[in-house]
Amino acid sequence: MKNWMVLSSMVFSEVFGNICLSRGMRQIGPVELTRLSSVFVTAGKMLGSPWVVIGVIFLILYFIFYLEALSRLELSYVLPMAASSYLVTTLAAASILQEAVSVTRWIGTSAICAGIFLVGRSQLEV
């Protein structure tokens, strides 16, 4: 598989996976984790939700693409994609999940994106 395919598959899987997971978890409703029993109850609910299952599958795929990218590519290729995924995910959350994203949140997310890119670049110089 070509490098650019690995990277774009990585970003797509992450965004799509997070969107589906978020949708599924929202449907389940606020989760309690105070007792060990509630952890198992939550896990059960998650397995029973189609959105969560699809989300998890795609996030596992993202994970595999991510590991593959790390093992064959330099950080200079992987980091910008990882940084951009924050913006792409927020965009998808706003449009697909109909989340209200304030201007402040957009600015903040953009700052994070730029910051991650800077951090990634600086690590290369070491």
Partner: protein
């Protein structure tokens, strides 16, 4: 009832630990080793907490917050590993911190 704050902290810490272990574990490529296994376990816990968080808060809020892991990474690198942190890295870290603060507003 677990509040969102401690949950966020737990997600970030397990994610940071998991990432560190993963990076070390993948150095030899696809080889089964305990470091890689530990990293995957950490990530699994982090993920479960992340999913639980998503049941309570927006994705556009939770995901940027997890970027705080980068800040922890740099702080840990400086104080635990005694790494020399370049000005560019500090600047990037500060930017991430500001970004997270803005997302919280």
């Amino acid at each position: 009832m677990l509040s969102v704050g401690p949950m966020i902290l737990a997600v970030i810490c397990t994610d940071a630990a998991g990432n560190l272990l993963l990076r070390r574990g993948m150095k030899g490529g696809w080889v089964v080793n305990p470091v890689l296994g530990g990293g995957i376990l950490c990530m699994a816990v982090s993920f479960f907490l992340f999913a639980a968080l998503l049941s309570r808060a927006n994705l556009s809020f939770v995901l940027p917050i997890t970027a705080m892991g980068y800040v922890i990474n740099v702080v840990g690198a400086r104080h635990l590993l005694k790494e020399n942190v370049t000005p560019a890295r500090w600047a990037g870290t500060l930017l991430i911190g500001v970004g997270v603060a803005l997302v919280c507003l």
